[in-house]
Every structure is written in structure tokens, then in C-alpha cells.
Symmetry: C2
Subunit: 201 residues, 2 copies
């Protein structure tokens, strides 16, 4: 007897949903079955939202944040301090920093970090554009808000070498204990960085 | 200073993704950001798969399984035993039963179960259609493969009352220990049902 399967369009949908981050085969099937059988699923609305986002939202040509306009909300905001430029790896790092309310400058997303193992070199990132911005916008400080892993360190070192020729203060965000974390939960590397980054009270 | 947010189409996408089962606010944002920024996301393909599924896949008018044809693969299969009719709550219960390979009859999905608390009564389910099928197809056995919870029991009892007037054997799938489960993991109700459903060895 022939093995019964779901109709082809349903199987193709499961395959597509499975590509999304954090969605395994079981979740993909569950979502697809919900779309085909739940009374209030209205899958057309979901498809339309994806299509509309994908047609209208673009990276800001200046900083890399998401926008539907020629420049993003942050770059277009005249009230921003143009003396401060914060470099992040991904455009998705910008909103978490914004939510702190602790920064009122502009951003520059590199689109990744230098990682030879993943075949990502300096030319694959928006590093030339960063140097160009520093040259033209004359920030007084460039803050490197990169990850505290090996690739983040390597990228920070590479950028430091490039930006040394400009009259700009170069800083990195602090590493140390995460908020609310006791010493017993911190690993050795975090503790050693927290020690060497100690500040006077 | 105005609070920076994602562009409206991106926020609308997050809201739509959040409606999917098992997807919380964090996962929805993660998926939306992946769609807008990952190189290989190709969100258009996902939107197209949803639209194509939603336009072509329909419930089989006879059994309720999913199909793109006038009748589903199972109902259209002449080799199926028409003497056996298996009643399930949801169309999504059919494929798990098929995968056992233990059943070669046809199915009937009710589209839910009787649940006064959720305002689901007999008229909200495909029960009239079931009675009509029993009248016309003359199955020799109707197997109730409903859930073993209160609503499943209530639905089984209701169907038993309706189908009593037909010359058909009415059975329910067995309740007892799940495969691979020791007695120490089984709750009292499962054990009591396993005891009362004991079979001669």
C-alpha cells in the first residue's frame, strides 16, 4: 500500500518553515498544520506581512539599521550627537543598545565580524565605509561595541589598527560581571576581565 | 528624544509571527530579524509557500484530511477497506495513525471534540456527516480513536448513543501503559485503565 503523505504544498511549506532560526522539524509541522487547519490562522495575513516587509524594509545605506526611508530614523535625526560613533557587528545589535537609553550618538553596523574559520575577512564587512565615515564625519570618539569572543577581539584589533591614523578617541565597551550575576556564576575569563577592568570607587 | 523602533512593516511581521503556535515574542523577533538581515533567508520563498499552501490545500469533503484534489489520497484509494471507519478528533490525527501501518480503512475527522467549556457542541462538529457516512457506506466496524481525556470520553459516549441504531460494531482504541513506560511513571488513572482493559495472554 502506498504510504500516505501530506499534499505537496503542505510539505513544501514545512520545508520552508524549517529554515527559520529556532524552528525544528516538529515545530515546522505544527505551524504548517495550524496554518492549514486552525479557524483563526489566516495564513494569508502572515504571507502578506512577510512579503510587505521584504519589499519595503532595507538596510540604511549609512549605518546598516533597518528602514523604509532613504536614511534610517537614527541617521536622519538631526538631534543626534555626531561626535559619537558606535560600531556594532550586526544591525540587530543597534536596538538593544538604543533601549539602554545610555547612548545618543550614531551607529555603524559592520554586517558581521572578522572570522577566518567562516571565511569572513575585512573585505566582506562594511569596514571601508566605516573609515570613510570617520574621515568625513569627524567623530571625536568611536566606541567599539563588539562581542567579547575571539572574533570580536580580532575585529576590534583590526579596526584599532586602521583608525589609529585619525584624530579620534577609540574605546571599547566594558567587559565584566553581568548585572545581577554573583561571582559563583561567572567563568574564569569573565572574572579575569572584570579584575583587569576594575574601576576606582 | 524619540524612542527608536523598528520600521512598521517589520513590527507588523513580528506581530503576525507571534500568532503562530509555539512562537513567543522573542522567537518572533528573532525570525523577523533573520528574514530582514540574513543573506540566505529568502523570505519571499517562505511567503510564497504559505500563499501556495493556503490557496491549494483544502480539507477532504469526505474525511477532513488535507488534499489538493476533490477527494483526499485515502478516500480516493480503491484498495482501502471500506468496512473499517476510524473516527478521530482532528485531521492532524490521521497521519500519526497512518504511520503505524496498523490500519487500512478510511477515516473521519470530527474537527474537534464536544467541550461545553469551550462552547463546542455536537452541532459544531462533523457528526451529522459521520452518521450519513455510516448510513451510506455500511462499515462493519467504527473505531473511535478519540483522546483519553474527559472531552474525548464525552464525545465517544455521544457518538455511541447515535450509532447504536446501526448494525455496526463500535470500538474504542485501547488505553493503558504507553510503550516503553514502566509502572513507576504511570499515573493512577492510566494504571486503573490498564488494569480494567487487561487481556488474556
Amino acid at each position: 500500500m502506498k504510504r500516505v503523505e501530506y499534499p505537496a504544498p503542505l510539505k513544501q511549506l514545512v520545508a520552508q518553515l524549517k529554515r527559520m532560526p529556532g524552528i525544528g522539524p516538529r515545530s515546522a509541522e505544527r505551524i504548517a498544520l495550524w496554518m492549514v487547519s486552525a479557524r483563526n490562522a489566516r495564513p494569508g495575513e502572515i504571507a502578506a506581512a512577510i512579503a510587505s516587509m521584504s519589499e519595503t524594509v532595507r538596510p540604511c545605506p549609512q549605518c546598516g539599521f533597518f528602514t523604509t526611508e532613504p536614511l534610517c530614523e537614527i541617521c536622519a535625526d538631526e538631534a543626534r550627537e555626531s561626535e559619537l560613533l558606535c560600531v556594532v557587528e550586526e544591525a540587530t545589535d543597534i536596538l538593544p543598545l538604543e533601549r539602554t537609553g545610555a547612548f545618543r550618538g550614531r551607529y555603524h553596523a559592520l554586517g558581521g565580524r572578522i572570522s577566518p574559520l567562516d571565511h569572513v575577512g575585512p573585505d566582506d564587512l562594511r569596514i571601508d565605509a566605516l573609515v570613510e565615515r570617520v574621515r568625513k564625519e569627524h567623530p571625536t570618539e568611536v566606541i567599539l561595541a563588539l562581542g567579547s569572543d575571539v572574533e570580536g577581539e580580532a575585529t576590534a584589533n583590526y579596526l584599532a589598527g586602521l583608525l589609529r591614523e585619525f584624530p579620534v578617541k577609540l574605546t571599547r565597551i566594558a567587559q565584566g560581571l553581568p548585572a545581577g550575576g554573583g561571582l559563583e556564576h561567572a567563568d574564569e575569563l569573565t572574572l579575569s576581565r572584570a579584575l583587569s577592568g576594575r574601576v576606582k570607587v
